[in-house]
């Protein structure tokens, strides 16, 4: 095994361990913070696979934006945040079975699809932003433009869903007290 292989296995163990902690911790905020560790280790794995651009996108979008969104969601919906016992549901065995089945399916697909494929990693790296740019703007221009429509739909959907809360107090007739949780604890 090369040093890169050892580091890759270590990162895989960190990813798996912190992902298990995300779903087993009783503190919702800790779950979000363990998710940072999971995403960070995943980003480091991408770096080791020389997918430089994807790795930094993982850091910017997932560690930066998505975790912030999750923390906002927790802060907005849980009034006293702390140790909550109600996070476990009786579906735990079913959930474990579904997770194991999904993992088995994904591993089977990857092994069946890429059994003989071998990529030489290292110099020059295969996933710099220059190469990503070349493949987006030479081959995948239409999906790229369609993505802007998807982002637009997400943006407008978020505004439509939260518009009632955004009006200044007293302007709408169905003004609700904003101190109340807006939904059964999400996050």
């Amino acid at each position: 095994m090369t040093p890169a292989d050892v580091v890759f296995l270590f990162l895989g163990a960190v990813t798996l361990g912190s992902a298990v902690l995300v779903v087993t911790t009783r503190q919702l905020v800790h779950a979000a913070l363990w998710l940072v560790v999971t995403f960070g280790a995943l980003a480091a794995s991408y770096l080791l696979l020389t997918a430089e651009f994807v790795a930094w996108v993982q850091v910017l979008i997932y560690v930066g934006a998505v975790v912030v969104l999750l923390l906002f969601g927790i802060m907005l919906t849980r009034a006293p945040i702390g140790r909550s016992e109600g996070l476990d549901s009786a579906n735990r065995p079913v959930a474990i079975a579904v997770a194991a089945a999904t993992a088995a399916l994904l591993v089977t697909v990857v092994v069946a699809g890429f059994r003989e494929a071998y990529v030489e990693l290292g110099d020059p790296p295969a996933g710099t932003s220059g190469q990503m740019g070349a493949s987006i703007f030479r081959t995948w221009v239409l999906p790229f433009e369609v993505l802007s429509l998807l982002l637009l739909a997400a943006l407008i959907g978020a505004i439509v869903l939260s518009r009632r809360e955004i009006q200044p107090p007293g302007e709408s007739s169905d003004e609700r007290p904003t101190e109340r949780p807006t939904g059964p604890g999400r996050g």
């Binding site: 802060m75 945040i81 993505l147 802007s148 505004i159 009006q167 949780p181």
Partner: protein, 123 residues
């Protein structure tokens, strides 16, 4: 320290050095300082007055839309990096420039909508 892995090894070493400096400073402080805690010293510091209520408060849901806008525009901005590396290269030119501005224009419609709906005014 050459090549792809070598250059990231430098990054990893520098990050480890940063962790070691901060951790070392805190450990040295813990070992050197006098430790005489009293109940008053253990109260959360809040600008000199005694803290009132819980530390965890619920925020207004209207702030969620700002976090959401941040996610959308982070995804948007990420695509500028690969574009910026290639659009001046031979073989791309004006078409690539226009493609990116179409992409930005479609998302700008969403920003216009947000502005019209008064989402962008800080309450």
């Amino acid at each position: 320290m050459d090549g792809y892995f070598g250059s990231y090894l430098v990054v990893a070493l520098l990050a480890g050095l940063g962790v070691a400096v901060v951790g070392g400073a805190f450990t040295a402080g813990r070992l050197l300082r006098a430790q005489r805690p009293t109940p008053e010293k253990l109260i959360t510091y809040e600008c000199g007055v005694d803290p009132v209520g819980e530390g965890w408060a619920q925020s207004y849901v209207r702030y969620y839309v700002f976090a959401y806008l941040y996610v959308v525009f982070a995804v948007d901005a990420v695509f500028l990096f690969p574009w910026a590396t290639v659009f001046a290269a031979p073989g791309y030119g004006a078409v690539t420039l226009v493609e990116m501005f179409v992409f930005l224009g479609i998302i700008a419609v969403g920003l216009l909508y947000a502005w019209k709906k008064g989402v962008l005014t800080w309450v």
